[in-house]
Amino acid sequence: MNTMVQVADVSKRFGKVEAVSQVSFELVEGETVALVGHNGAGKTTLMKLIIGLIRPTTGSLRLLGEDPAAGEFTARRRLGYLPENVSFNAALTGRETLAFYARLKRENPRSVDPLLERVGLGHAANRRVGTYSKGMRQRLGLAQALLGEPKVLLLDEPTTGLDPALRQSFYEIVEELRSGGSAVLLSSHALTELEERAGRVIIMNRGLKVADGSLQELRDIARLPTRIRVKARDDGMAEASAWFGERDCRRVNGHTLEISTPHDGKIDLLRRATSAGSPIVDVDVVPPTLDDLYSHFLRSQERAPCTTS
């Protein structure tokens, strides 16, 4: 597998603030990586470093085998970037704007029409960007990031302002590029959304990388309890509480209990819930979500600020 982006021991200091400190990771072809963290965790700085808009204070970066800040631009032609809160000049139309960016990437300006169609802006191609809604500007931002079949896609909060249908089609486009061998790095606040899309998650806090791995790996490290929701049959609530005995449980409503169990106790508990004589009529298994993992890793890092991964 080819390494598309390599970040090695990179720190970036703005005056007294260390925005990114000693972060290392790699992006290989055909993977989608979610970059998760609070505002100010260093996500945007990291993306700017990868593009070469700013130089690292220490450490080194490689984008498609090139030093991104060296002033050689062959790698940038294969890069798609969608900044957070993307904005465009209001005077030009959507088509003119996209054609301008296409020219800079040495793409045929005629290739912009299918792209506008693809992000659902075909009907507004001849309108000025100034008349666009926030969602439409975001779509235009996506369209420019997709110019020229990028090998590396960096998307900073890509789905803000998109409605659910468009989010869906956005992730389909991303998936298409990924399966075509591109590496996708996306940051988002909507963690539940990333959960199904990202093969790997990198959690950042205050410039440090606190966790890096697939969602399953992170779950294994965090050992967070799985929550199991059981629904008792009518007037079987008291019986249900007794059925599960001493376990850590919580009443959700009149006939639902939520039981927290360590990962290895899950099967045992399910067996019990479904065994003969059980007052349970329905079971839902809720594995720890990315939200839970995220707050777990943040908390553990606050306790031990020296661990970097």
Binding site: I54, R76, L79, Y81, L104
Partner: protein
């Protein structure tokens, strides 16, 4: 080279769409036509050198107006795009920062050149249409005036870029731009005049005065146009003025330096700026 032209083309496109081009062209044409016909009143229509009178009045107009227009277009070029966030996206493309700046410069200069050419050209054409006899020498002086006006515009576009790359906020850039305009168009000359009056020719000799005039691009422009041709300098009352000591070529070269130095400096500042 290609990148520079792409950016220049976009600037021109935006200028057309924002009606910058239309507004400046109409303004310059209206003022030029007014000056042409009102300005010829004192000499009467029998004056053989009608165009020379126009050159004198138009170059005075240029000194006030073109620096102002140039600074208006240019002071926002970098800091405005930074503030709106469009610069971040643009610089993530395969394009160097100096290419962005040079492309904008060419685009803005093209807008200004177009407006000046059409606006002042309209005045000359109107004059020719009324049947005034214009000889070759006058046409040459007129062409030199239009060309040097565009060069003066380039100087102030470059100064506007330097301001725009140095500051962090658009408001600051606008304030400094107005200050720069005031200094070069009004205050510098007033101060120089005051100095000459106080000095009474004691220490400020001819060469020192020439050097002092070269320190202000609008003075260079004035000297170039008002002393450039014999008949124009007679009309302007500048015959035998200090500029006579400085050749036209030296004046033009200094004016070009006034455009190149700020442009180079702003490219340097821009390339070091953190995003």
């Amino acid at each position: 080279m290609h990148n520079i032209l792409i950016v220049a083309r976009k600037e021109i496109q935006e200028g057309l769409r924002n009606r910058w081009v239309l507004a400046t062209t109409l303004l310059l044409a209206a003022l030029a036509l007014t000056l042409t016909f009102l300005g010829s009143a004192p000499t009467g229509t029998v004056g053989v050198r009608a165009l020379d009178v126009v050159i004198v009045s138009l170059s005075s107009l240029t000194i006030f107006l073109l620096p102002l227009i140039a600074l208006l277009i240019s002071h926002d070029a970098v800091v405005g795009e930074m503030e709106r966030g469009t610069m971040l996206l643009l610089l993530s493309y395969p394009i160097g920062r100096w290419q962005v700046l040079l492309g904008k410069f060419i685009g803005h200069l093209a807008i200004l050149a177009f407006s000046t050419l059409i606006g002042y050209g309209a005045a000359a054409a109107a004059l020719a249409a009324t049947g005034a006899i214009i000889d070759r020498e006058s046409w040459a002086a007129f062409a030199a005036m239009v060309g040097s006006s565009i060069l003066l515009g380039a100087v102030f576009i470059a100064l506007g870029y330097l301001i725009s790359t140095l500051v962090r906020q658009r408001g600051t850039a606008a304030g400094i731009a107005i200050g720069v305009w005031l200094i070069f168009v009004l205050l510098y000359d007033m101060a120089l005049l005051g100095l000459l009056v106080v000095d009474q020719g004691q220490t400020v000799s001819g060469p020192i005065l020439s050097a002092l005039l070269l320190l202000n691009p609008t003075d260079i422009y004035r000297l170039f146009n008002l002393t450039g041709s014999a008949s124009v300098s007679a009309f302007s009352g500048m015959a035998g003025a200090a500029g006579g000591a400085l050749g036209s070529q030296l004046l033009l070269a200094t004016l070009a330096l006034w455009a190149l130095v700020p442009l180079t400096l702003s490219a340097l500042v821009f390339s070091r700026r953190e995003l």
